[in-house]
């Protein structure tokens, strides 16, 4: 019998639990030549702000051991242009579209963005990016439980749509922030956004990134992400969308076993555009081999080492 890969995130039903992570998949068009986009569980868009943003000074990316740094700085066309120019293509795909949004100066911007997106039927869910390290703020919203609670509560009042709160690993306890998001009515949390990092050109004695520091992603951060997912899984009841260094089925499985209901593939899209689809088929195989009929039986199935 065929394994059942469907999962539920709040009100949102996914035919499979494999999404692509915000900022690593453009607006999907960019990948149309490489994979059948319709097979994805969901697409998370690049983070959108109210006004268009130019983004940060180049160079914006550099390679690090088993990872990369990026400091894009939320370059995006702004909500209006996004809706006019990017949504039509996304609508046509007929798969869940999760729109990621962020505020730049004032958390109040979230309410404006949410009201606008709430009106669009094809927006399946809204991801609150309160964890972008590349605006170079003193403190991110997701670095404070109270701020997180306040922001999510405010937004929750404005929409019935599935709300996902994306959290930063640069905190003393990610699960405490996750708990604040849950209490404020978030339907799910996305763990993790990038880890703050910096890399230096020792000949020039300058940072390798134009805006000095950036966000670390890729396999290097996987153990950090898996631990945070496991800790959150033991603290909250809402679904967790896991990400951080997922590049293949093996690494994806670590997240499901640690308690992720769904996963998102990020940096791996750059290296192997087919990574997300390969994970979907790999997941079917693994479930068949281990006769797990329903994905929910795999989620959080971690048990102690026998010794």
């Amino acid at each position: 019998m065929k394994p059942d890969l469907s999962v539920r995130i709040g009100k949102l039903d996914l035919k499979n639990p494999v999404m692509v992570a915000s900022g690593t998949f453009g607006y999907a068009e960019e990948f149309g030549d490489f994979i059948d986009l319709k097979k994805l569980g969901a697409i998370v868009t690049k983070t959108i702000t109210i006004k268009p943003r130019l983004g940060n000074l180049p160079p914006r990316t550099c390679e690090t051991p088993s990872g990369m740094l990026n400091s894009i700085g939320l370059e995006n066309p702004g909500i209006d242009k996004f809706i006019k120019e990017k949504m039509p293509f996304l609508k046509k795909l007929g798969i869940p579209v999760i729109v990621s949004i962020a505020s730049v100066d004032d958390p109040g911007e979230f309410t404006i963005l949410v009201k606008q997106l709430d009106r669009i039927k094809e927006v399946s869910a809204i991801e609150l990016n309160i964890s972008c390290p590349n605006l170079h703020k003193e403190r991110l919203i997701s670095q404070d439980a109270k701020d997180t609670f306040a922001l999510v509560s405010a937004v929750r009042k404005l929409t019935e749509k599935c709300l996902i709160t994306k959290l930063s690993p640069n905190v003393t306890s990610a699960s405490e922030i996750a708990l604040a998001a849950e209490r404020a009515g978030s339907d799910a949390v996305a763990l993790i956004n990038t880890l703050g990092g910096m890399s230096i050109d020792v000949d020039k004695r300058t940072p390798k990134i134009g805006s000095w520091s950036g966000g670390l992603s890729g396999p290097a951060i996987r153990p950090v992400a898996v631990k945070m997912v496991w800790e959150a899984y033991n603290k909250i009841k809402i679904p967790i969308i896991g990400s951080g260094g997922i590049i293949d089925i093996q690494s994806a499985l670590e997240f499901f076993i640690a308690g992720a209901t769904a996963i998102s593939v990020g940096t791996a899209n750059f290296i192997n555009p087919r990574a997300s689809l390969e994970i979907i088929s790999g997941l079917k195989e693994y479930m068949a081999d281990n006769n797990i009929h329903n994905l929910n039986n795999l989620i959080g199935s971690l048990k102690a080492c026998e010794s």
Binding site: G26, G55, R60, I72, F270, R274
Partner: protein, 260 residues
């Protein structure tokens, strides 16, 4: 678009001289669609070290064969040079926009190619496709040993002038000074079009000179790339219409557009 991710068979991978290598792989699809100025993005091995792909210009095509010309400068190109004929190479391409040939379509017009260092790689492919125009090629390098593709350009019937910083061959000085000379001589003669690839500083100088002489210039840029397909917004360069992606909106830009 006609870009694809392909496991392409390596046909040959030979040292040309010093750290310069020629690689040929087989991909009918990439070869068929490749335009001068476009590039491929290569996963040099199946390990996570290095993690990212490496962008390399298309140096030419022959039937289903795609030719690359690369310099070993670090870990990725080092590993690429160790790959053997018969092995499969994970390649994405053809990527980016090629040179705009309209700029030189006019018969009355003379075409100048300016190459600095490895900048010759895409320009040989360009020269091939416009060889009927017998473009003038200016090649610059630190020293004679580093002058590349001289024979290729001559074989295509191009007139070639050389500049070396140390004067060990041709004009002593930067290739941009040589270009200045050429432009002064060409003074008002015929319309000109300039195509250039090389180090950032050289390209800036070329575009400045082109603008001053209001000549149309087409520059092939390099930026650090994470995705190579326009998705990450990492490889931007600043233009009159804001930041543009070198990988998708480029790598070739008109000198007029750029604001660096």
């Amino acid at each position: 678009m006609n870009q694809a991710q392909i496991k392409a068979k390596i046909i040959s991978n030979k040292r040309f001289k010093d750290n310069y290598w020629h690689l040929e792989f087989e991909s009918g699809l990439i070869a068929m669609h490749a335009l001068p100025g476009q590039f491929v993005n290569i996963k040099v091995n199946s390990s996570i070290d290095p993690l990212l792909r490496r962008p390399i210009s298309i140096h030419g095509t022959k039937g289903p064969k795609v030719k690359l010309f690369y310099e070993v400068i670090g870990k990725g190109t080092q590993i690429l040079s160790s790959r053997k004929p018969g092995e499969l190479l994970d390649v994405i391409g053809p990527l980016g926009n090629g040179f705009d040939l309209q700029a030189t379509s006019d018969k009355r017009q003379a075409t100048i190619l300016v190459a600095g260092g490895m900048g010759v790689a895409p320009l040989v492919f360009l020269a091939e496709s416009i060889k009927l125009k017998k473009p003038l090629v200016l090649i610059g390098a630190k020293t004679k040993k580093q002058i590349l593709c001289l024979q290729e350009f001559k074989a295509l019937g191009c007139a070639v002038k050389i500049a070396t910083d140390d004067g060990s061959a041709g004009f002593k000085g930067r290739v941009t000074e040589l270009l200045g000379q050429v432009l002064r001589q060409a003074q008002g003669a015929r319309q000109l079009a300039i195509y250039a690839c090389g180090p950032g500083a050289m390209l800036k100088a070329v575009s400045r000179m082109a603008c001053e002489n209001n000549i149309d210039s087409q520059l092939s840029l390099e930026e650090h790339m994470a995705c190579g397909i326009g998705a990450c917004l990492g490889c931007v360069v600043s233009t009159k219409s804001g930041y543009k992606r070198v990988c998708k909106d480029g790598p070739v830009f008109s000198g007029k557009e750029l604001t660096w």
